[in-house]
């Protein structure tokens, strides 16, 4: 399965709902994502992104909870290839 890592909206450009874009910060890596599906998203919000589209806005508390889980998983070993 995939991990849905929340990213923080650093800045937003564009006005029109369909073409609004956000610069999203995923732990230091910046990605552009379409905000067409999250008209309510504002700068500073956390979003879940799938194939370049922000799917949903989550509050900071939720985002921190997810980061906590992900950090807890860092120490797990998994068998497998590359």
């Amino acid at each position: 399965m995939c991990l849905a890592v929340p990213g923080k909206i650093e800045s937003i450009h564009g006005e029109e709902a369909l073409t609004r874009m956000g610069r999203i910060n995923f732990g230091g890596v910046i990605r552009e994502a379409s905000l067409a599906f999250v008209p309510e998203a504002r700068q500073g919000d956390y979003v879940i992104v799938h194939v370049g589209c922000a799917l949903s806005v989550i509050d900071e508390e939720e985002a921190l909870q997810i980061f906590q889980y992900i950090n807890a998983m860092r120490d797990d070993s998994v068998p497998g290839g590359p």
Binding site: P6, V51, G52, S56, S77, V78, G80
Partner: protein
């Protein structure tokens, strides 16, 4: 060999979908592999936690289809409590799952896939996305966004929060529908029908103009698996497993999904974290099966709702026995949206969804439990083993993208065989491989890359495994 993996969020984002194409000396394609870097550390992470935490954790980690994991997790919990949940909570869970199917399918059809078939296959990748669609078909783009919003609202009205509703629990659900929620959702119904009908008409139009894609994008015999009701009707949350072959013959039926391990075998691939499930009795090659919208429509005999049933009858004409082209996953998604809107409309007038008899209480009565539910992308299994105190000892999850992996490989192989004549990797092949994979709407760990574009790395390998050519995009 076990080795240590650092689960760094950044590597989750940076990854490319890697594809290996194995060639013969004469330049023909022998095989293809689409390497899905599936993350399995999650299962280990869950071990040692109380069962009651699972419906809260799984949707948070698997945030692309949170409702599917929530429901499968709650169902595995029902099995461990050994309870039959009250009818109202079963209906409410179904209502939420229908909302999830609509929102996920709407995104896949309107915004990830339609830009390919509306914009033209050889349009540059930067135009085959939601912006290209907004520029050329703004009404369609808006209608698709609103349809997805309707699905999200169904989830929100029940779960309270859009993304991580810890609303379904072992034994039932926490809240019923309110009359205010009923009113909000009812207001959407006419528009949801209109948008779905518009998309169905559009897709049927496209189908006539894309007959070569129909033959090329994953058109091969395979088995199909999905849940069906007792009379073979379309199922998305309850029911039993059915396998059908590409001639349309039912090869196994009414299998208890809790005993999935007797029917489904998981082959490990040393090159990937992904296990490749297949139908045990037929072996890994003949036992390859597809899951998801195409499979569900192939295995079922009826949708159980009049509008969707009329569409299903037309759909079944597209194949002999079964519909075998993966390009028709798109078509199947639209018919499932239509059925979902019809079922939601019916549930909104069902007195049960306002009932407060929502939860069966019990302790740990089984040390092993399985929950199966149809996620938008296909059948999802959560398999838990607990101790006497309900602490998880072992967790296994079988996800849709994993079950479709063998079929995705076959799809890539089919497209590559058509386009590759030697070591050169032609650009039209890249677009088509990307779309061939997109038909399955996989949830990819690398999926946060460019807008609507799948970051791809394709390598051509010779008979001795030597790299003949390589191309990276995105």
């Amino acid at each position: 060999m076990a080795h240590r993996i650092i689960i760094d969020p950044v590597t989750r984002i940076e990854g490319h979908a890697k594809i290996s194409i194995h060639m013969n000396d004469d330049g023909s394609v022998v095989d293809a592999e689409f390497h899905v870097v599936e993350f399995r550390g999650f299962e280990k992470f869950c071990e040692g936690r109380p069962l009651s935490e699972m419906p809260g954790i799984t949707p948070r980690i698997c945030g692309i289809c949170p409702v599917s994991h929530l429901l499968a997790s709650a169902k595995a919990g029902d099995d461990i409590l050994a309870v039959q949940i009250p009818t109202p909570s079963d209906k409410l869970r179904r209502l939420m799952n229908l909302g999830q199917i609509i929102q996920s399918h709407a995104l896949s059809f309107f915004h990830l896939s339609a830009p390919d078939f509306l914009g033209g296959w050889d349009t540059p990748p930067e135009q085959r996305n939601v912006f290209g669609l907004a520029a050329r078909h703004p009404e369609l783009a808006r209608a698709g966004i609103r349809l997805r919003q309707f699905g999200q609202e169904v989830i929100e009205v029940l779960g309270g929060r859009k993304i991580h509703p810890a609303w379904a629990v072992p034994g039932g659900v926490r809240n019923c529908l309110t009359t205010d929620g009923q009113k909000r959702l009812k207001a959407w119904i006419p528009e949801a029908f209109a948008t779905t009908q518009l998309a169905l008409n559009l897709f049927k139009d496209i189908l006539e103009k894309n007959s070569s894609e129909l033959l090329l994008f994953g058109n091969f015999p395979s088995l199909f698996m999905g849940l069906v009701g007792p009379d073979g009707e379309w199922e998305h949350h309850g029911g039993k497993l059915r396998f059908k072959d590409s001639q349309g013959k039912i090869i196994a039926d009414q299998l208890d999904p809790r005993r999935y391990a007797e029917w489904i075998c998981e082959a490990s691939n040393p090159n990937s974290y992904l296990k490749s499930p297949y139908f045990h009795r037929l072996g890994i090659e003949a036992g390859m099966y597809r899951v998801g919208p195409l499979a569900r429509l192939n295995v079922c005999d009826s949708m159980g709702m009049p509008k969707a049933d009329a569409e299903l009858r037309q759909f079944k004409q597209l194949g002999v026995g079964a519909v075998t082209s993966s390009f028709l996953y798109h078509h199947a998604r639209l018919i499932e949206i239509l059925a979902a809107v019809e079922f939601i409309q019916a549930y909104l007038d069902d007195p049960d969804v306002f009932s407060n008899r929502l939860r069966a209480d019990a302790g740990i009565n089984n040390l092993h439990g399985v929950g199966a539910s149809e996620a938008p992308r296909g059948t999802l299994f959560h398999d838990y083993t607990v101790d006497e105190d309900g602490i998880l000892q072992k967790v296994n999850m079988i996800i849709a993208t994993g079950q479709n992996n063998l079929a995705m490989n076959q799809t890539v192989k089919q497209i590559a065989s058509h386009y590759l004549h030697g070591k050169e990797i032609p650009e039209p092949m890249l677009n088509r491989i990307e779309h061939g994979i997109r038909c399955y709407d996989p949830c990819l760990s690398c999926s946060t890359h460019a807008i609507g574009q799948m970051p791809l790395r394709i390598e051509l390998l010779g008979p001795m495994g030597q790299v003949l050519n390589e191309v990276t995009r995105g």
